[in-house]
């Protein structure tokens, strides 16, 4: 063991990790999973969702595992009754104020933690109509849990465009463009990196939105294929999500050294030409040699 390493106990297991390792990283390194919502491997933790809280014997309050660095000699419990009760309440509060139906992960967590949001009144004010302002992606803020990931990805964590921020405070807080202007008029450059990090599908491809509206979004029939973007020479890895021989959305792996999960508008949305028959040549044609223009 070098001076740079520290030891602690997580759920009874002795763990040795480099200094500055977070509790989340340390736990995952020994196969203990802790649920997260506002954390992502390609963003700096903002500690807003409180889903990843764990009990540390050197802290009175529960601590967020995603951002708290391990303390030498501390004893962490990631799944005791106090922790479980807190997570259940966080999930119930989120579910009472938002539509979480399109997040498979949160649905699973709610089942695992036996969350019952009917204990809280339904927040009718949150039921906004989805914002459908262009052909690339939609924003359905009744699904937004204010995890800040989209704001981070739009800002200094990746894109440096700063088209969105949290407007208002308290119950009125929501993600907004400047003065709530429509997205096409805002600073947005349609990289879609906000969609890439959204955990609740509040932000989604227009293709997905249309297929869902037509009751034809079938994840069980979809495949994901990794390939390389066809545009500039940077070589971004794309994950093509396909259904019925069509691309329905595009993501990029967060752990890839080229993209860190982020793309530009061409990589994210510029694939339409592949499946627009009007743009493909008729098969093996013999043309007239003469062209007028």
């Amino acid at each position: 063991m070098t001076e740079q390493n520290i030891s602690l106990t997580i759920d009874g297991q002795a763990v040795t990790v480099p200094k500055e390792t977070t509790i989340l990283e340390a736990a995952r390194s020994v196969g203990i999973d802790i649920p997260t919502l506002c954390w992502a491997e390609n963003l700096t933790p903002v500690n807003v969702c409180r889903l990843c809280v764990v009990e540390a014997d050197n802290s009175k309050a529960l601590v967020p595992a995603c951002s708290r660095a391990c303390d030498a000699g501390s004893n962490i419990e990631t799944n005791n009754e106090r922790v479980t009760k807190n997570r259940r309440m966080v999930l119930e509060l989120l579910d009472s104020a938002n539509d979480l139906s399109q997040s498979e992960e949160l649905q699973d967590l709610m089942a695992n933690y036996e969350a019952d949001s009917s204990r809280y009144s339904d927040n009718l004010a949150a039921h906004d109509e989805p914002k459908v302002e262009d052909d690339l992606f939609i924003r359905a803020y009744d699904r937004c849990v204010l995890c800040y990931k989209c704001v981070q990805a739009c800002g200094e964590e990746a894109q440096f465009t700063f088209a969105i921020a949290i407007a208002n405070r308290g119950f009125d807080a929501r993600v907004s463009t400047e003065h709530d202007i429509p997205l096409p008029e805002s600073a947005c450059v349609y990289c879609g990196n906000c969609i890439g990090v959204c955990p609740t599908n509040a932000l989604q491809f227009k293709t997905e939105f249309d297929l869902r509206s037509a009751a034809n979004w079938r994840p069980e029939d979809q495949e994901v294929t990794e390939t390389i973007c066809s545009y500039c020479g940077v070589g971004c890895t794309l994950e093509l999500h396909t259904q019925d021989n069509e691309i329905v959305k595009v993501t990029s792996p967060a752990d890839h050294s080229v993209t860190s999960g982020h793309l530009c508008v061409k990589g994210r949305f510029g694939w339409e030409y592949v499946q627009a028959p009007v743009y493909r040549p008729p098969s093996a044609i013999q043309t007239d040699a003469a062209v007028d223009d």
Binding site: C229, S230, G233, L240, S283, A289
Partner: protein, 543 residues
Amino acid sequence: MFGAGGGTSSYCEVEETEFVLLWGSNARAAHPIYFHHVLKGIRSGASMFAVDPRYTDSAKFADAWLGLNVGTDIALANAIAREIIVSGLYDAEFISRSTSGFAEFAEHVDAYDLAYAERITGVDAGVIRETAHRYATAKTAQILWTLGITEHHNGVENVLSLCNLALLTGHVGRWGSGLVPLRGQNNVQGGGDMGALPNKLPGFQDVDDDRARAKFEALYQTTLNPEPGLHLTLMFEAMSRGELKALYVIGENPADSEADVLRARALLQDLDFLIVQDIFMTKTARYADVVLPASVGWVEADGTVTSSERRVQRVRAALVPPKGARADHEIIGDLAMRLGATWQAQTPEELWDELRSISPMHAGMSYARLEENNGLQWPCPDLDHPGTPFLHGWLWEEGLSGHDPAPFSLTTHEGPKETLSEEFPIRLTTGRVLDSYNTGVQSRAYKSPLRKGADLEISTVDALELGLQNGEEVLVLSPRGQVKMLVSIQKDQVKGLAFTTFHFPDLVDLNVLTNDEWDPLSGTAEFKAAAIRIEKLTGNDRA
């Protein structure tokens, strides 16, 4: 550069470098995800200076913008070199061990003093001095460039002028320091790697190298022509002399993309026989006698592409191509058999393994390893080799590992071939925008809310002098032709400069205007510098 046909550095190095000199590149728009790495570097404390005639989206992130006159890059680079030399900021040890020709170079650039450079380039002498000092004194520094350097009649000399700066300061061959040309197309690096160059066999082995050629002749049991062939520009020259009469065009749209495009179209029209193999019915395909419909390489076929950091990466079929469209390698293979070859049908992986057997720099890159490592950076000579994050480490080794020292190049400022005149007083330069791509055949299909079409961006002063309103249609004339365009007045644009994109040839036949004076070494045309005149339309002329 220095004997290798690729950029020296990995993308992630720019996140750790101290000083970034972004030169003739609007990477924010043209290479957005590479620019994320640059932004990480800036966020970590790197300083960036941007050299560009326009105050681009990229330049807005820089600590200083050097808004030089179009085509004065050599004057600027040589002045930076002179300032580094006269201030004693060069790396004498590096120069004496790893380079040749320093004395002649120092003497040559002595004419490029700051006052001269300011007069030629239009960049403040103090800013040039500051650039030289920052670049030379940084512990690590990178120069990044794109077509603003290469699309000139002397593009190769422009590149060599930037290489000189790296040789003066030792900013090459080390982690965090390097020379980074960003490639404009997803496999333009791979095309060169595979020998799609008139003087190269796959793996950058020279066509006129008997030993290299013998290897290929043995494998393919045929005799190969030792004479280097023609690049695209020379092919058009040969067509104009009537020497080249049949053309097989694969995935290229010269009927829209060539400079002085009216001439190019006439030459395509005059061919005896034109085959076009493409995924689209492009304008070039409409001139063809036969069109061979191809499947889309990155999504309907398996294979590899190589990126700007020399990373070979796998592409994979995710969709079944439309009926009649076939993979490029199948079409070429079938054509070869009709021509009498006895090749066996091969899978993309079998073809790749065949390449590995004769291209030493790819030998260690099996499909399994490419998969496992998210791609590998060449050279990767054997299966135990981890790939090469940065090139030219030998420059820092005693004895240079048997290499010749890297030579300084003597380059001389000329300026654009087409000088401004009373008849054509405005400089037209072209470039990319974020949401579109090349001649638009790919990017036009998706409905981008950002798309504005090909406006002619001009300065407020020129708009005032010409009496033009924003959005007004004007006639734009160059010595080669004329087109109508809509004016977009840009408060950041300098007087005398006009800019537009080349993504919308169906809206504006822009390459009617551009100059096809080309670089004798690279064959690249001077897209970046034409002389134009803007005329206000009278009521009757309006469309």
